[in-house]
């Protein structure tokens, strides 16, 4: 209870932070500069909402598509070498540990970097991980909506580096939504697979699911 409360407070206070760091200057004409500040008071802010995105297989996926299922969402991007593979690996292990319970769950990897993360790029990137993780991308506007709804913080910063690539620096949280599409809890992407599986089971059990 405490851990969950702490996590909720942490999220409500600042929400998932993210940033886009520009390493070098050459690129992508316009650049994302968003600051979504805390809304409401801790514990009362709503997280999540309607969205329409495109899956790696081309299928349109909205917040309604998987109603009736628990939904696990991890936000990341394919230029992320550390936090994202770590979280995706942890989620893959968790799905295996969940056994048949994983059937009650749909898992999304949603990119916050739609300019680079096309369906093809995400398909390749997700290959080494559990095939049940569905990659979702969209237009910049669609992703912006999701970023807003999930209170992700993203900002563009210039780095003094001299490469041509930018990378997205963000916090690494895994969100769990219930079968009605309501936000339930978050866990850090560094949590190992066992821990994630235990967390998911507990949340499902508490909900009588």
């Amino acid at each position: 209870m405490n851990g969950r409360t702490n996590r909720l407070i942490m999220i409500a206070l600042t929400f998932a932070a993210g940033g886009i760091l520009l390493v070098g200057g050459v690129l992508l004409g316009t650049f994302l500069q968003m600051r979504i500040l805390t809304e409401g008071t801790p514990g009362t802010a709503t997280i999540g909402g309607p969205f329409t995105l495109v899956a790696t297989d081309g299928q349109k996926v909205s917040d309604q598509t998987y109603r009736g299922k628990w939904v696990l969402i991890y936000f990341g991007y394919t230029y992320c070498p550390d936090a994202c593979p770590t979280a995706l690996n942890n989620i893959s292990v968790a799905l295996e540990k969940l056994g048949p319970d994983a059937g009650k769950l749909q898992t999304f990897f949603v990119t916050v970097d739609p300019q680079r993360d096309t369906q093809e790029v995400m398909t390749d990137y997700l290959k080494p991980f559990d095939s049940r993780i569905l990659g979702l991308t969209g237009t910049k506007a669609q992703i912006d909506d999701v970023i807003k709804e999930f209170h992700l913080y993203a900002s563009a910063e210039k780095s003094e580096g001299h490469g041509n690539d930018y990378y997205v620096s963000h916090s690494s949280y895994i969100y769990l939504m219930d079968p009605h599409g309501s936000f339930v809890d978050v866990i850090h992407g560094n949590a190992v697979g066992d821990e994630i599986a235990i967390w998911v089971r507990k949340v499902m059990r508490d909900a009588g699911s």
């Binding site: 999220i11 390493v23 394919t78 550390d82 936090a83 290959k127």
Partner: protein, 167 residues
């Protein structure tokens, strides 16, 4: 030419990998590099990550200034920091090594980010890396490449596994 030298270093290093001595140290200093490893990259990835433990056994402070590898345009040091209770990754220019310091680079925390990969990092292969320290000078390391999403070096995992069995 420099790249050639790196490759030769890598090959020599790879030959030594089967043996026990994973610690690679500079003759001129007391900085020790332990358990270096890199992660294989998912398809199409333009960035990679490398991990290791740095120990300063010397009486003077040292500083990791930079790292280079022939396999990427640049190597950045990223550290997890907390902003208002939310952790996020930030680039740090240098890594301070006070006397006796032990700095651990590991997944989800501090790591070296390889930017502009020239080729995918493939499991089972090796990544040559040169670390430049203020006092210790250059230390060449050869890092085994573990599977995508690996959380530690396979041989360390085996050791942990073994000790589990002994309980």
């Amino acid at each position: 030419m420099r790249r050639m030298a790196h490759l030769i270093t890598a090959l020599l290093g790879a030959l030594c990998l089967g043996g026990e001595p994973h610690a690679q140290t500079s003759a001129a200093s007391m900085v020790v590099v332990q358990q270096p490893w890199a992660r294989a990259t998912p398809g199409g990835a333009k960035t990679g990550a490398a991990y290791m433990t740095l120990i300063n056994n010397g009486a003077s402070a040292d500083r990791l200034l930079s790292a280079t590898t022939p396999l990427a345009d640049q190597v950045q040091f990223h550290k997890e920091t907390e902003d208002n209770g939310v952790s996020r990754m930030r680039e740090v220019r240098n890594v301070e090594l006070e006397p006796g310091a032990k700095i651990v680079f590991k997944p989800g925390e501090m790591h070296m980010m390889l930017v502009g990969l020239k080729q995918p990092l493939i499991e089972g292969q090796a990544l040559p890396l040169t670390l430049q320290f203020e006092r210790a000078g250059n230390i060449d390391v050869t890092m085994p490449i573990e599977k995508v999403g690996a959380m530690h070096r396979e041989d360390i995992g085996m050791m942990m596994h073994d000790s589990d069995h002994m309980k």
